[in-house]
């Protein structure tokens, strides 16, 4: 099929691309743009390893056609840290051993960013578990993940207060 022109802003950089309609956002990121931080687990919407933010909201990039998202702003795990400075969510995942093999971790972190932006989880571990249920971890690092999310939220709220003051 003929390729179609689309424009995506990925981690703040504008990309003008020509792609086949059937290419998913996940395959575009990994195969065309070498952004392999976003992982392919199931490729069917069942595991969350491919989670990225599209216009600030978390989605499964394996079920998203790139052409359909023409004009969107995408944030992937590669765009989360500021240079050498880890994002508070990344730092908290390391501090709390929120992973073992690390395969699900980019998805967990992107999903956590989405969850925090939605402002729903608060400091209730049960609601964090529910809010992150779209991200499976085969190593079952769930205990550390929930602790990491709790701490990251607290740290981010503190630094928000500091910037506001």
């Amino acid at each position: 099929m003929t390729s179609l022109p689309i424009t995506l802003t990925i981690n703040g950089l504008r990309h003008d691309l020509e792609i086949e309609p059937r290419v998913t956002l996940l395959d575009l990121l990994r195969e065309r743009l070498d952004l392999t931080g976003t992982k392919k687990g199931c490729d069917r919407g069942q595991c969350g390893a491919c989670t990225v933010l599209v216009d600030g909201r978390r989605v499964n990039s394996c079920l998203a056609l790139a052409v359909s998202h023409d004009g969107a702003e995408i944030l992937t795990i590669e765009g989360v840290a500021q240079g050498e400075d880890l994002h508070p969510v990344q730092a908290a995942f390391i501090a709390h051993d929120g992973f073992q093999c690390g395969f699900c971790t980019p998805g967990q972190i992107m999903s956590t960013l989405g969850l925090i932006a939605e402002g729903q989880a608060g400091d209730d571990p049960e609601r964090i578990r529910e809010g992150l249920s779209g991200n499976l971890c085969r190593c079952a690092a769930y205990g550390g993940i929930v602790e990491a999310v709790l701490e990251a939220q607290q740290n981010m709220a503190k630094s928000d207060r500091r910037t506001a003051a």
């Binding site: 309609p21 919407g45 978390r58 499964n60 999903s111 249920s133």
Partner: protein
Amino acid sequence: MKDFSYIRAATADAARQAAALPGAMLLAGGTTLIDLAKCGVAKPDSLIDITHLNGLDRIEVDERGATIGALAKMSHVADHAGIKSQFPAISEALWQAASAQIRNMATIGGNLMQRTRCPYFRDPANFPACNKRNPGSGCSAIGGVTRGHAVLGTSEACIATYPGDLAAALVAFDAMIHLGERRISVDAFFLLPGSTPDREHAMEPGEMITAIEIPASATARRSTYVKIRDRQSYEFAAASAAVGIEFEPDGRTIRDLRVALGGVATKPWRARAVEDALKGKVLEPEAIRAASLLAVEGAVDHGANRYKIELAPRVVARAILKLGETT
């Protein structure tokens, strides 16, 4: 996934017309369609993308009811203040469905149109026989692994469960589907499999869901969606119940009751026998449990799904009693 051409619809009318052509399919959030294209079940020649259409994602709630545009996202509807206060069962059905990521992608129109999770249906390479995919080829599920299959509304041709949570809540509260000008009740929209399980709904070629409309009612205001599944979250229902209740001024006598089941039937399943048995009765646990058994009147199991016949009435009773407690 086989290749296809891509058309971005400029208007709803253009989308409907383009989708009526052979091999064409509407694309909304893609969470069913792209999945099934990867499984080899959906083989579109062209996709008509409706996600860029304006105005079809509105959610309006007033004293007469709610109107929800077909392109409204599951997450937005679940989180809408008017839906949460006037139609709690709708909000609960949505936020207990799928995952946060999928709810951010998936639309209400696509949600109603989601296909069965029957594992044989989803695996054409290994199971060519499936009357839903390939009429007349037989049913691989009958005599196979049936744990997730339906016990209500089945036929000799197909026993696949309709998996959606939202539609079960909609059918309880007499919601209507807008197909442009034409209006049809959710109950009439979904068809029983009978001898033609490939025909799942009453939509004609050239039609498209534009909105759903839910009339306001006292039962909808006092409603809940109880969903039981094999794991706590991110899973389809083993059995679920959408229930709404209205009491007489005494606060104990049931004036009106709505009951619908999900996860156990071939279409969203209204359980009117339970409603009729309890209207005018006082809310009392023994009577509720006895009447809830009527929800599975006529149920037929295929072995491994037998547990659903016992589970569904318990879910109904739990939902009714839960609403009774919130006086």
